[in-house]
């Protein structure tokens, strides 16, 4: 009885009612969250398209499907999959053997399945095409030199090789290939994939690596050189997924098995690159696939304006959060560093070293850390670290620049050390501190594009996807808002200068 009365009273109390509603909402959200399936993809067209197709299949199967596009290279995706940040992503059998399991020669799907099992990862059957690496040249140049197969290159050591940085470094990449075929080109460069085609067309390079399903092959009149020594392993496309993924989601992914051959994949890739729209290419899969289920919901297309707006919002959030934390941490550190000594050297030195780490290297260091991974947290942490040095250094310098006579005066008139800091030193250093924060903010707006590399969104997303497509308008969708944002941030801080820096410090030099 008492319990009943209590609960009656509870429902009459509006606060309790709100709280219980919230509790129910939370439970509901939790249930929904379980139904979310996140698909990742690598930073190239084919992977994007496969990711979009998977997203669509999962949506149709009733899941809340997310697609984290262009998350970078194999290792980043693999780490994300293992740690559960994504549930599935498209991968190739050759890559699984060589790069992930580090067992060259392991190329049979059954063997791969056995090797993946203890890791909690499973794989679908083959999707139907073999996207192997290949070397290609322009038809014209190949004919001139009479080259049809890779062995023919032996007598052409003067040719310029421009391969993707990944191919340059891979265990099954350029170096072992060159040694197997006895090639001794001296001019071998790392060139980003999409840019490499441009370089090939303009004759800056003679040979580049390609994927056998690459849309650019036909478009640019390129020939694939015959792999006459059978160097390249098989790269048959599959989807890797977590064992914990719901069975219905696995079934959805498996609908792709055997539905895409090389020709079809090349066509889908070409469609994606021509339309600059991955989801449109993905919908072509459904339109042309006889086996595919009828499309129930159209794949949503974001308008350019709303995607710019969305990316800018995410970008600002990344910059804002990281800058806020940097200010909270760097000003106290700057105060400590203003007192010259070993501690000061240590703080400034460490912040300086952080600043010199290239953003890709920093991401590579942060992504494997538990709790960070492929997420906005990693991007914010990286930006936070990059923001520290300008703020620490300017705080320390600003405080050191307070004239000796005024330091003495502050002590002599009877201010406590704490009051000297807050009433005299910090206000007098405010101009310098604010300049440090401004520098950090402007640098951050530019650097935040790195978030696009790890699927954390922002204006880096169109820049990276545009680079991948070799499509200037897409790049500009990210680059122009980023530049405008940098100018706005500059303007905002110029206004803040007038609000925060005490008026007495903004006067001209004191009259004699």
């Amino acid at each position: 009885m008492r319990r009943t009365r209590n609960s009656e009273r509870g429902t009459r109390n509006p606060l309790l009612r709100i709280l219980s509603t919230l509790a129910i909402l939370c439970v509901t959200c939790g249930a929904l969250a379980q139904q979310t399936v996140t698909v990742g993809s690598k930073k190239f067209t084919e992977s994007y398209v496969l990711g979009e197709i998977a997203k669509k299949l999962l949506s149709d199967a009733g899941f809340q499907a997310q697609h984290k596009q262009g998350m970078g290279g194999t290792i980043i995706l693999w780490q994300a999959l293992k740690t559960g940040q994504i549930d599935a992503y498209p991968e190739y059998t050759g890559t699984i053997g060589e790069e992930i399991l580090k067992k060259p020669g392991l190329n049979n799907l059954e063997d791969i399945k056995k090797a993946l099992e203890p890791l909690g990862i499973e794989t679908t059957g083959e999707l139907g095409f073999n996207d192997t690496y290949a070397l290609c040249m322009t038809e014209k140049r190949a004919q001139e030199l009479g080259i049809t197969k890779i062995s023919d290159l032996k007598s052409h050591a003067d040719l310029v090789v421009g391969v993707t940085p990944e191919f340059l470094g891979r265990k099954d990449g350029w170096k072992p290939l060159a040694s197997k075929y006895g090639l001794n080109m001296s001019n071998v460069k790392g060139v980003e994939h999409a840019l490499g085609y441009t370089a090939l067309g303009s004759g800056q390079i003679d040979i580049k690596d390609a994927y056998s399903t690459d849309a650019k092959l036909a478009e640019n009149h390129l020939v694939v050189l015959q792999d006459d020594l059978n160097y390249f392993p098989q790269y048959k496309a599959v989807f890797l997924y977590r064992k914990q993924m719901p069975a219905a989601a696995v079934d959805a992914l498996r609908k792709m098995e055997g539905t895409i051959d090389e020709k079809r994949m090349t066509a889908l890739n070409a469609s994606a690159e021509n339309s600059k729209d991955y989801s449109k290419a993905a919908s072509e899969y459904f339109a042309t696939a006889p086996k595919a289920p009828a499309t129930q919901t159209p794949i949503e297309e974001e308008s350019v304006a709303s995607s710019i707006l969305h990316n800018t919002g995410v970008h600002l959030l990344l910059v804002g959060i990281s800058l806020l934390f940097a200010i909270l941490v760097a000003i106290p550190l700057g105060i400590v560093a203003s007192k010259r000594g070993p501690l000061s050297s240590f703080i400034l030195g460490t912040a300086g070293v952080l600043q010199t780490i290239p953003s890709l290297a920093l991401l590579a260091l942060l992504v494997p850390i538990a709790g960070l991974g492929i997420s906005w947290r990693t991007a914010v942490l990286a930006l936070f670290l990059y923001s520290l040095l300008p703020i620490i250094r300017n705080t320390a310098t600003g405080l050191q620049d307070v004239p000796g006579t005024l330091r003495e005066a502050a002590a002599a008139i009877g201010l406590t050390p704490n009051q000297q800091l807050t009433r005299v030193y910090l206000p007098m250093a405010s101009r310098s501190i604010l300049a440090g924060i401004k520098t950090a903010a402007v640098i951050n707006v530019g650097t935040a594009t790195l978030a696009g590399l790890i699927g954390a969104g922002g204006l880096g997303e169109p820049i990276i996807s545009g680079l991948n497509l070799n499509d200037a308008p897409t790049i500009l969708q990210g680059a122009i808002p980023a530049a405008v944002l940098a100018l706005l941030v500059q303007g905002l801080f110029d206004t803040l200068d007038r609000v925060i820096i005490p008026k007495g410090l903004r006067l001209g030099e004191a009259r004699p």
Binding site: T405, A409, G414, T416, M428, P502, K503, G504, R511
Partner: protein, 260 residues
């Protein structure tokens, strides 16, 4: 006053406000002040004078605890100056330096009331005190809303004096307060300073390099050279009975005292 004016300070009958007992200051092998005994009597104005580097500013810094003596001690109002009573001593001391030492980010009034506000003094009392002081140092009330950068050198020194006097200090320390001012402004301020010292009856220690100023404002003059006291007395003592040839040399170098 009659008895005190006759003898040198160390025999003065008055209670002592500040005493140096064998206090010295060295920086490595450089001696800024040799071990020195010196007393400052309550209500007296003492002028410390000497060429640059003679130790007069070092002496002032020792009194207010900006630097610690290498040997000996400083006694302030009967208590040795130490870490524990530093804040108390500084708050019962007024301090004025050459270019005023006003904080550029605060208005004149904020400069004057800063420490009082930190001590959470009643704002009505602060206003009353500022009114009194602006009348005393003859600074128009409306100038107080200006920033130091908007004031003339003379005005800045008057404001700095207001700040020093805000908490009714027992001792006023002035480190070459008028050195950077032009002669007209300096003369006007000297007149006002003399009047203010007499009106308040505070113990004043004034560092200057101008013998005319020392003689005009100080009841006792202490001449220092290379970290040592050379002579203590009045201008006439220096002129009639110089203890060392340096005393006469120093006086001769002060052109304003010599009939041109």
């Amino acid at each position: 006053m009659g008895t005190t004016e006759r003898g040198p300070p160390w025999t003065m009958q008055n209670a002592q406000m500040v005493e140096l007992r064998g206090a010295s200051k060295s920086y490595g092998s450089t001696v800024a002040l040799h071990p020195t005994d010196l007393s400052f009597a309550i209500g007296q104005t003492t002028a410390l004078i000497g060429p640059s580097g003679c130790g007069k500013s070092t002496l002032l810094r020792l009194i207010i605890g900006l630097i610690q003596p290498t040997s000996g001690q400083v006694v302030f109002d009967g208590k040795p100056v130490g870490e524990d009573n530093l804040l108390e001593i500084r708050r019962s001391t007024g301090y004025v330096i050459q270019d005023g030492g006003l904080f550029p980010h605060l208005t004149a009034e904020e400069n004057v009331s800063l420490v009082a506000r930190m001590m959470e003094m009643d704002s009505g009392k602060i206003q009353t005190r500022i009114d009194e002081l602006s009348a005393l140092v003859r600074i128009p009330r409306d100038l107080l809303s200006r920033y130091p950068g908007e004031l003339s050198g003379g005005q800045r020194q008057r404001i700095s004096l207001m700040r020093a006097l805000m908490l009714s200090p027992k001792v006023l320390l002035l480190d070459e307060p008028l050195a950077a001012l032009d002669p007209m402004v300096r003369a006007a301020l000297q007149t006002d300073l003399k009047r203010i010292f007499e009106e308040l009856g505070t113990t004043v220690i004034l560092v200057t390099h101008d013998m005319g100023e020392a003689a005009y404002l100080g009841q006792t003059i202490v001449l220092l050279r290379e970290g040592k006291i050379v002579q203590i007395g009045k201008l006439e003592d220096f002129q009639k009975a110089p203890k060392e040839p340096f005393v006469t040399e120093f006086l001769n170098a002060q052109r304003s005292l010599v009939a041109l």
